[in-house]
Amino acid sequence: MQTNLVIKLEEIHKTYHTGEVDVHAVRGVSLEILPGEFVAIMGSSGSGKSTLMNMIGALDRPTSGHYWLDGIDVSTLDRDALADIRNEKIGFVFQGFNLLARTSALENVEMPLLYNHKRIPSHEQHERATHSLELVGLGQRTDHHPNQLSGGQQQRVAIGRALVNRPSLLLADEPTGNLDSQTSIEIMGVFQKLNEQNITIIMVTHELDVARYTKRMVVLRDGKIITDEAVQNRSFAEKELQQLRQAQQAVKLAP
């Protein structure tokens, strides 16, 4: 197999045995993702996109098929090995931010480092977490607790946490689902900027507007890929924000 692929899925199936009926959530998905790609996985609810996401995120194992992440066959690993993969290779961003309450932004970002199998000295943990927060534009708010931050800022902290272990893959599950439209654009801007620095990003979404910020769109229906194509008319967050600001200035909403 080619080692320069970040992700290679081969005939992935996932079947849930709930009671007497077997639910085939994913039925034969094959997918290859190269370093530096920015992929949106789309589909309506029940299309199997969340199940696929869980397997790509090494939270779950496929019933059959193979999944290579960075050349490692993840589909055969045990619980502990999966935990290590999640820690080192994958950064998660969730719809509901999933930050620890009453814990500062910096400590939230440091958390994955605590579980790194290499012992990282605490001053280095600090440096790396601070650097991560600077990457997402929150260098000044390191000691704020989640309840002192806006939704957009919380999601930035979550992205900082996802990046802190320098993963090969950033995985975002409806990252703008809980945000207003302007903040959504800002967050997509953060992703685009990270992608420009050659970070591979996979994002699950059901909003077409949001998917337009990516480079490649994969659409799922009934557990199968039905389209997989490059994004036409790609949106750029910077441009969109500028237009939005002009529109707001026109009605005196913004200075």
Binding site: D60, L100, L114
Partner: protein, 401 residues
């Protein structure tokens, strides 16, 4: 395992819920505190009794003469004339016997310069202060020469000094017993009350020969005090004395009784040991109750923090990391609870000791036991909740509302 990281996480979690952490610990705090407090006080009391027992002298064997029986009336130990000065001299020749004093006792009216006092007059040998572990505060003990010459010399206790010579040095003065002048050669250091509440300082000690021939006219002694070389040989010396006296008295029945200090000590410590067992029982019950409290709160905490567990697992925490995190939380709770309990119990016993003027002893053994067992309780009661947390499925945990 990343123990240090887990410690940090546990510390944060407990600090976040200060009030709850405190209430959770309360069971352990009260249990350990009560045990440490009461152990301090009872072992203080026991220590006091032990001190009194050992103030009777170390490795001391007492030989009492038999009971005097007249018709249906039985006189009790020391009432029958069976022990003689010769018996005492024979005992002195036994192996491992370091000091012997034949003892005769009598109550007499003692006079000195217009004052008088009724007190216990004892006839003893010069070994008496050594056997009773008693020092001479002023002057000196009478000598063997005094015993041989039936000297009219006396050593008096502090109470007699206070009663008869309130404002002067009694050494060199004279007291009169049955109209005989006795020269005071020494004063015994104050010893206080004995186990039975008697004032040990209320006494006049004279050579036993003087007592038997000048004050009273006796041929027998009440008892014989014997000091063995050490506590290890005390039993064999006791047996030797029994054999020797049986042979000397040529009697079929044993007409004397031999007792030693260790037996008395054992009787006293048996009580305190029973008390200790009782306390250990109370401690065990309270620790179990405290442990159930901790388990309860840890279960609540695991349910409450299901989402947090999911997040931690998503970013790479292994099942073992989660297990250790919650275990450490439980152990931290119980160990801190135990420490607070130990401090509280010690403070309580010091306060009581201070207010009530009672002795207290810091029971280091019990403190170690209390601390270790509260930590163990933490492990036991924390294990099930922690195991439950570590077995959560990360996907389910993340979705938990």
């Amino acid at each position: 395992m990343r123990i240090f990281a887990s410690l940090k996480i546990a510390g944060r979690a407990l600090r976040r819920n200060k009030m709850r952490s405190l209430l959770t610990m309360l069971g352990i705090i009260i249990g350990v505190g009560a045990v440490i407090g009461s152990v301090s006080l009872t072992s203080g009391a026991t220590k006091q009794v032990e001190d009194q027992v050992s103030s009777l002298g170390e490795s001391v064997i007492t030989v009492f003469s038999g009971n005097f029986t007249s018709g249906a009336m039985r006189g009790g130990w020391g009432s029958a004339p069976t022990l003689t000065v010769e018996d005492a001299k024979a005992i002195a020749g036994l192996e491992n016997v370091v000091a012997v004093s034949p003892e005769v006792r009598d109550r007499e009216q003692v006079l000195a310069e217009g004052l008088n006092w009724n007190t216990q007059v004892m006839g003893e040998s010069p070994d008496y202060p050594q056997i009773r572990n008693w020092t001479i505060a002023r002057g000196e003990m009478f000598s063997d020469q005094d015993v041989r010459s039936l000297a009219k010399s006396a050593v008096i206790g502090q109470t007699v000094v206070d009663q008869l010579f309130p404002n002067e040095n009694p050494v060199g003065q004279t007291i009169r017993i049955r109209n005989l002048p006795f020269l005071i050669v020494g004063v015994l250091a104050p010893k206080g009350f004995n186990l039975f509440g008697q004032d040990q300082d209320d006494t006049v000690v004279v050579p036993y020969t003087s007592h038997m021939h000048r004050i009273t006219t006796r041929t027998f002694v009440n008892d014989i005090l014997v000091q063995a070389a050490n506590d290890k040989v005390i039993d064999s010396v006791q047996d030797d004395i029994t054999d020797l006296l049986l042979a000397r008295h040529r009697s079929k029945e044993q007409d004397f009784t031999v007792r030693n200090q260790l037996e008395l000590m054992q009787a006293v410590t048996a009580t305190s040991r029973a008390m200790s067992f009782l306390l250990a029982g109370v401690a065990a019950v309270s620790l179990v109750v405290g442990g159930i409290g901790i388990m309860n709160i840890m279960l609540v905490s695991v349910t409450e923090r299901t989402r947090e567990i999911g997040i931690r697992m998503a970013v790479g925490a292994r099942a073992a990391d989660i297990l250790v995190q919650f275990l450490i939380e439980a152990v931290t709770l119980s160990a801190i609870g135990g420490s607070i309990g130990i401090l509280g119990g010690m403070t309580f016993s010091w306060l009581v000791a201070y207010i009530k003027n009672m002795p207290t002893v810091t029971p280091f053994g019990w403190i170690a036991i209390a601390f270790i067992s509260s930590a163990i309780i933490g492990v036991i009661s924390g294990f099930y909740p922690a195991w439950k947390a570590s077995k959560l499925d990360p996907i389910d945990a993340l979705r938990y509302e």
